[in-house]
Symmetry: C2
């Protein structure tokens, strides 16, 4: 079942404009998706909307709603509404969401771990770049 062979051949499909996986990646490769997945993954149980909002510093209500909706639509997040007053809405990863959450969290972990050297690389790059840009001779206006 799990054909490890033909792996690269499959991956190549991603490069095609009409590959369905592109629409999936589009959802995953977005500003807040990775954080939301990581946050939901930390918890044992589900999380409420405002808990997520407080946890994810800087996210707006609109973006959180939008991100959660997209993930719910894709079947990665399960949303449960308790018709109480005030309303109580809980979010949890589906099995699919747990799977992909493992992958995205690996990226988050990696980013934390290697942030120092990457920031270093940026400083070097930027320094050289600005050195390379010579001002135009005044004649050019």
């Amino acid at each position: 079942m799990d054909t490890e062979s033909g792996h690269d051949a499959d991956l190549a499909r991603t490069y095609r404009r009409d590959c369905p996986s592109r629409t999936v990646i589009e959802v995953l490769a977005n500003k807040w998706t990775l954080y939301v997945l990581a946050a939901l993954r930390r918890q044992d149980g589900p999380m409420r909307f405002n808990d997520l909002r407080r946890l994810l510093e800087g996210i707006t209500q609109k973006m959180l709603t939008q991100t959660l909706r997209a993930l719910e639509r894709d079947g990665l997040v399960r949303r449960t509404v308790y018709p109480t007053v005030p309303p109580r809405v809980e979010y949890a990863l589906s099995e699919l969401g747990v799977e992909v959450g493992r992958l995205t969290t690996a990226i988050a972990d990696w980013s934390i771990e290697h942030a120092p050297e990457i920031l270093d690389s940026r400083r070097t790059f930027d320094a050289h770049a600005s050195a390379d840009v010579r001002p135009l001779p005044p004649a050019y206006t």
Copy 2:
């Protein structure tokens, strides 16, 4: 060295607005980054600009340049220029790039594998959504 403990505590830093990892993730979680990393990872050797462009269906020259530049700045991609005529420019993953490429490629693979059920989930979700939206009573406008 590799402190597997304190894992979650570290990850929590990602949620903070000023965590450096956020700027790293910002580069990775972008429309074309994942594809470029995957493409460079397939090759044993480096790839030329137009080879990449042809491989990644739909990417424009501008976006490819921009994405490669960002990855180079972060030290994930190494750019080599051969001062010939016409010029020859080769791109290859750095060691850091190979590392992160493994992680992003895992996501691409996963997306390909699960695209069918995710698309299914979307269809179901969208069908219910449109069913839930009742037209307003004419009296309202």
